[in-house]
């Protein structure tokens, strides 16, 4: 191994790097205060750019959503996404969570979901039901997880799969099924073409 890269040396450096990068990413996507020393206006530009990119990718993996919402899609998505980091499971999960937020009962005021007319609500609910089916059993091993994730993206439209990876986003392997406070289990979901 080359000089200067022994594991014991990097453990402390990894720790310090993790704190610094998490602090920066957290301010960019989770609404925590900006760490010291960064140009605040550039942080703001980067935040907006990340939100816009995320909206664009979700619009491509779930093109039905901009169809249903029309010009309301973008402002609604940005209102949802601000301060709500994307799920580590990726853009399809993000789209589902966005629809859950849209269709949930919520108080009025800034940051809450826009009012939906009945047609949009029905369409969104139907869309969600098609994609948030019952969760299969958790995978037994790493190889199975990789295979299942590959199958999921293969079943989805090539547009969705392409868009899902058109930017750094979902890994090919999920890190495991996590329970959610509400909404469906996060498990590979069969999608219809």
């Amino acid at each position: 191994m080359p000089e200067g890269t022994t594991p014991s040396t990097t453990d402390a450096a990894r720790q310090r790097l993790a704190l610094a990068q998490t602090s920066l990413l957290s301010t960019l996507v989770a609404g925590t205060p900006a760490p010291e020393g960064f140009d605040r206006s550039r942080i703001a530009v980067q935040r907006r750019a990340l939100l816009a990119k995320r909206a664009g990718v979700v619009a491509r993996v779930a093109p039905e959503l901009p169809e249903i919402l029309g010009e309301d899609f973008r402002p609604a998505f940005l209102a949802y996404a601000r301060g709500r980091p994307m799920a580590t499971e990726g853009y399809r999960r993000d789209a589902l969570t966005f629809v859950e937020w849209l269709t949930s009962e919520s108080a009025e005021g800034p940051g809450s979901a826009p009012a939906l007319d009945d047609t949009a609500r029905e369409a969104l609910t139907a869309w969600w039901r098609e994609r948030a089916g019952p969760a299969p059993l958790p995978p037994a091993g790493r190889v199975q997880v990789l295979g299942r994730a590959v199958v999921r993206f293969m079943r989805s439209s090539t547009d969705g799969a392409r868009a899902a990876f058109s930017h750094p986003g979902p890994g090919l392997v999920r890190r495991g099924v996590r329970a959610r406070r509400r909404g469906p289990r996060e498990a590979p979901q069969p999608t219809r073409r």
Binding site: P7, A13, L19, L25, V45, Q46, R54, V145, L146
Partner: protein
């Protein structure tokens, strides 16, 4: 170093155009292709002898954690399925949080800049060695475009890349549009970076268009190649003959004639560089 020639980033939207353009090689986003299920147009390019290089966007070698074995395996599988002579990724972090900080995992959905510090370089070098050990072909890493600068940076871009190469033997994918982006956004002179970085480690070069808005350069890959970006390419070609140059166009796709024009501009810069003329005369 494998000779690649002039190429274009393969995207499904321009699959037909790519087939007619007659490029020497293409690059595909690694996460968008599945071994054993390659898109037919890519299969046809391979059958014609066009080199296809997988370019990963989600490894995050610049992050604090070691690269995930599953992600490395996936990249390796794509290299093998495509018969690629190398693979490429980025000097960036794309996720944070998790056990090292006891905070929720966060995905950036974007390539974010690595602080140019000793800590980050030590971690990056170890991550690169781990990656190289898992890959069947050489790895090239790309310098990214950044809106932000980290406070307290200890090294310049050129020095950082030089030491990365010296310690790991990794190849470089130099994106001249990203050098231009960092010139506008961070005041970093591309020529200084080109003077310091080891040009003999360059596996290939990215060229792309962008646009300036409110004093910020946005590396959109959706605009024609601007002169300043071609100037950086020319400066690079004064210092070395890059084995490959690749045009990146990801959005607002123009007609094939315009793409052909862009490739012609790239070939002209490469062909008329002093270095190319000197090696031709030798």
């Amino acid at each position: 170093m494998t000779h690649l020639g002039t190429g274009i980033g393969w995207r499904p939207e321009i699959a037909d155009a790519v087939e007619t353009l007659g490029v020497d090689w293409v690059e595909v986003v690694a996460e968008n292709v599945w071994p054993g299920h390659l898109p037919d147009p890519v299969r046809r390019l391979l059958d014609r002898g066009v080199t296809v290089v997988p370019h990963g966007v989600s490894l995050g070698l610049g992050g604090a954690e070691r690269p995930a074995p599953e992600r490395l395996t996936a990249l390796a599988e794509r290299a093998e399925a495509l018969g690629a002579p190398l693979v490429s990724e980025h000097i960036a972090f794309v996720r944070a949080g998790g056990p090292l900080t006891g905070s929720p995992r966060l995905e950036a959905g974007h390539l974010l800049p690595v602080p140019r510090t000793r800590d980050a370089l030590d971690v990056l070098c170890e991550n690169v060695v781990i990656a190289q050990d898992s890959l069947p072909v050489p790895l090239a890493l790309e310098n990214i475009a950044a809106l932000l600068s980290w406070p307290g940076e200890e090294m310049s871009e050129g020095a950082f890349l030089a030491e990365l190469v010296e310690r790991t033997g990794v190849r470089l994918l130099i994106d001249v549009a990203n050098l231009h982006t960092n010139h506008v956004n961070r005041g970093e002179d591309p020529l200084t970076a080109l003077d310091l970085l080891p040009v003999e480690a360059i596996a290939y070069v990215h060229v792309a268009g962008g646009v300036e808005r409110d004093g910020v350069w946005h590396d959109t890959h959706a605009h024609p190649l601007p002169e300043p970006v071609l100037d950086v390419l020319a400066a690079l070609c004064e210092r070395t003959a890059p084995p490959g140059v690749l045009l990146e166009r990801d959005d607002d796709f123009p007609p094939v004639a315009e793409l052909s024009g862009e490739l012609h501009r790239i070939r002209t810069v490469v062909r008329t560089s002093t270095y190319a003329k000197e090696t031709q005369d030798a």
